[in-house]
Symmetry: C2
């Protein structure tokens, strides 16, 4: 049985907070095991890493002003999005679809104003979310003695489908992708193209377990131990489709 529990008691996170300590403390009633998965919404990770920008400090470029007009956004917000992007793939319907420096294709380069105290502050994605996950995992290990997996998430929209699903933008201690190619199904047939985005499905599970209107950035998942690994592993980078393999870029 798989189960997911949203953890209460994570306070508002600020730069230089020891996020791992806040998580271990909030998990006090739940003894951690090595097969457990701790799913963390990226916002608290970003905040602890100081990946925040005050719009008052941002001077929008000509291009930011132009794009802002097209998508009806604050030009300073658009400037931050441009700063976080290698390429803008689409600009329509009030949304910029960006290729971020981390390699993600997502709306507004993951730059988000919601759940941020202070009207003119935006939160960026961590610079290297896999590194963030590895650090968080190591520090949780130091503090708790256990070595659960860590998955850092964001909510991404999808081509072709309505609504957002949470996906893994960083991870450590979990196989991000389970590859069944070459294995056989229950009828002994070879499975031709079954590659399961395990870390993304863990992210989606965690999102269902929490409420959006209260602050529950951390979710503990149990029952996914078969995907856990002792090593940190390849990270969520393995979930990024290369440009050559991508039919829709």
């Amino acid at each position: 049985m798989l189960n997911a529990t949203a953890i209460d008691g994570i306070p508002e996170v600020t730069p230089d907070d020891d996020l791992a300590a806040l998580i271990v403390s909030a998990l006090a009633g739940e003894p951690l095991g090595d097969g457990d998965v701790i799913v963390v919404a990226h916002k608290v990770v970003s905040k602890s890493e100081g990946r925040i920008r005050r719009l008052a400090d941002v001077e929008p470029s000509e291009r930011a002003r132009e794009l802002a007009g097209q998508v009806d956004k604050d030009p300073r917000h658009v400037q931050v999005i441009l700063d976080e992007s290698g390429e803008i793939l689409r600009a329509r319907h009030g949304i910029l679809i960006c290729l971020t420096h981390q390699g993600f294709v997502c709306a507004n380069a993951g730059v988000d104003a919601s759940n941020v105290p202070g009207e003119d502050t935006v939160v960026l994605l961590p610079t290297d979310p896999d590194l963030s996950a590895r650090r968080l995992r190591a520090r949780i290990g130091e503090l708790s003695g256990a070595h659960p997996a860590v998955v850092i998430t964001d909510s991404f929209g999808r081509a072709w489908r309505v609504g957002q699903c949470d996906v893994a933008i960083g991870c450590a201690g979990i196989e991000p992708v389970e590859d069944w190619r070459g294995r056989v199904d229950a009828n002994g047939r070879e499975l031709k193209a079954t590659v399961i985005a395990v870390a993304d499905q863990l992210a989606a599970t965690a999102d269902l377990a929490r409420a959006k209107d209260v602050s529950q950035p951390v979710v503990l998942i149990r029952g996914a131990a078969r995907h856990a690994t002792a090593e940190d592993g390849p990270g969520a980078r393995a979930l990024i489709r290369s440009k050559e393999q991508d039919l829709f870029r």
Copy 2:
């Protein structure tokens, strides 16, 4: 707490089997409640509805032969894919990305050869998966006295990201999409673009709870009752992005 349990004891399903009866019987040890969600892999639904084709009965057209050469597939398999598609969006890397008659954008129009007994048989998507979900829900209600939600799933690939996630192709008794636009976050800020694909996240959760190498097409999810509805609701059709709103078609 959210939890998901894969249900054992569903036999190989054949056309005209009473799938709801098989499910209720397999669930015997789990008293069903109205807030429960029964997630069913579409293959057993399709099989019970006779949505199967023997390749020996298929005569490939000229176009099917041509496409089959491009993507290295059996021309008869490609013919079935063409029969299930309104449009072929891409043909590359051994995959046909199709717009199905149901409105889904997915690989090979959901026509799948794995987990099918008999080498030359393929399974199609249900003709109207929302109708399938409503019927299954009604029949489960008759047999069990409870009215759980029903979600019918398939594994879809994604643009930009590696691997497949399970998504909802049909549902009844669950809100497929939770729309937070206009509501406020924990800091009192309006949430601008938070539309959560609840039914897809339920599908992803269920997929994590089951093993792929044994036959566990049915997963029971508890703890998602806040998304359950007495009415059947709009179905997974609500998760299909209209062509006008789609930036990547």
